[in-house]
Symmetry: C2
């Protein structure tokens, strides 16, 4: 407990502990006329279990730095801990488990407390661990040109003015056969993607197309798009390391930092003409 | 199922169903020299239960639009549904429950599947429902001037270059007694706040100060800061409706759209001098 946490950068601390928090990826920057090799730094996202008195409370996807603080804050935030004095010891295991020993009643093993998955996060910001190993996504095939990409991005961003008015929504659009077929918004980026996938399922729209999201491409977002068979995934912003890994496992085309005339492809650029 | 989901704005659809997705809030824009009344539009965030064959799977915080698509996408994303053909009917109850009837095995009532709380979301992006009613936060008292606000914002953003390098992290800083005491980053905005709260607890730092986050001020973020007694909460971006409600219940000073010389106060501006 005696470590000094006062402002020091997270990756400085992590690097002192020989834990990398980023890795380098070779990518291809695409424009209508050029393809340029480029190196991008991606943030490491990895699963870490949190246990209280050796009872597993949950597994969370994290950047692997400051894990003892995270474990205590996580348990406090969920109501398992209520004061610092309860904490006896925090142990970090290099395989990705944090255990907090605390003078509190042991948490119920059946987890029957009604938990709310919060927004901003939202929706299925939860996946089952076995899904992380999923490799057999049957992707629908298609390729898109820059006119499609432009239509997808501009269409999604222009569908509503909620983002401009509230600065509190994520948008997600689905493009296929030359048009924006679905566009949804929500307080959580997970929810917005869930709404698009739910609409494809409910309306029987074939997933042979591309998804654009204003949110980051973390593990669960890439995974759920791959599961339904969407071959192309485009984001306004960055993927995480695990997002890139899952795209490679499943064969999804993954593009970040997308603008109407430029995107940065992390996997399978051949689907973008 | 026969509704046409093709691009229509979410709030157009919601408003057709007489469900508001935004509300207006009176706020006070503060600068070093002026206080100007201002109206802001905030996004509605509310809890909605998702049930499969009448078994409750979870409660998620959402923007109340397109809930049938959300329910199906949520269950698909968590692996409870695997194809559209399984869905028989989706019912929405105005009190905030979505029930999907589907030809699938009933989900286990003990929820023993190991679920992962995903990042970007991350950390304690989960709260127990009873915490939403929490009113008795014992806040530590303090007030800050604009020199402190500037120090907090600039300090937090300058602590590391991970955000610039990866575009994939949220940062959270804690300011007290004229200095930045803690600063953490993570792939998830919930995780970054959890790391700061965990550090305060582990290091015995009194929460008499202000938190700055680069993420939105949704329900759980405001709630966990109030629970530990932090009186001032500042964000680079927007609060949700439920974030504002919880700030009012607990008495937290809530400021959004914060820049070094300007912020927009949604509750209890008197703590900012």
């Amino acid at each position: 407990m005696a470590q000094n946490y006062a402002p020091k950068t997270q990756h400085m601390i992590a690097e002192m502990n020989n834990t990398a928090v980023t890795r380098e990826e070779q990518t291809l920057v695409l424009t209508q006329t050029e393809r340029t090799a480029c190196q991008e730094t991606v943030l490491i996202e990895q699963p870490v279990e949190v246990a209280l008195n050796e009872i597993l409370i949950g597994t969370t996807m994290v950047m692997p730095a400051d894990l003892d603080a995270l474990a205590v804050g996580f348990l406090f935030g969920q109501g398992y801990l209520s004061a610092a004095e309860e904490v006896v010891e925090v142990l970090t295991c290099p395989e990705g488990r944090m255990t907090v020993y605390a003078r509190v009643e042991d948490p119920p093993r059946d987890r029957s407390r009604e938990m709310i998955v919060t927004s901003g996060c939202g929706g299925s910001g939860r996946i089952s661990r076995d899904m992380l190993q999923e490799q057999e996504a049957a992707l629908h095939e298609c390729s898109l040109g820059f006119a499609d990409i432009r239509g997808l991005i501009k269409g999604t961003l222009q569908v509503s003015d909620l983002s401009l008015r509230t600065h509190c929504v994520h948008a997600c659009g689905f493009w296929s056969e030359g048009e924006l077929k679905v566009c949804c918004e929500d307080v959580g980026r997970h929810n917005a993607v869930d709404k698009v996938i739910g609409t494809l399922l409910l309306e029987g729209i074939p997933p042979r197309g591309a998804v654009y999201t204003t949110g980051r491409l973390t593990s669960d977002i890439v995974l759920k798009c791959a599961r339904i068979g969407i071959p192309i995934l485009v984001s306004r912003t960055a993927p995480s390391s695990l997002g890139v890994d899952i795209a490679r496992q499943t064969g999804v085309t993954l593009a970040g930092y997308a603008r109407p005339n430029r995107l940065n492809c992390f996997n399978r650029p051949e689907r973008i003409r």
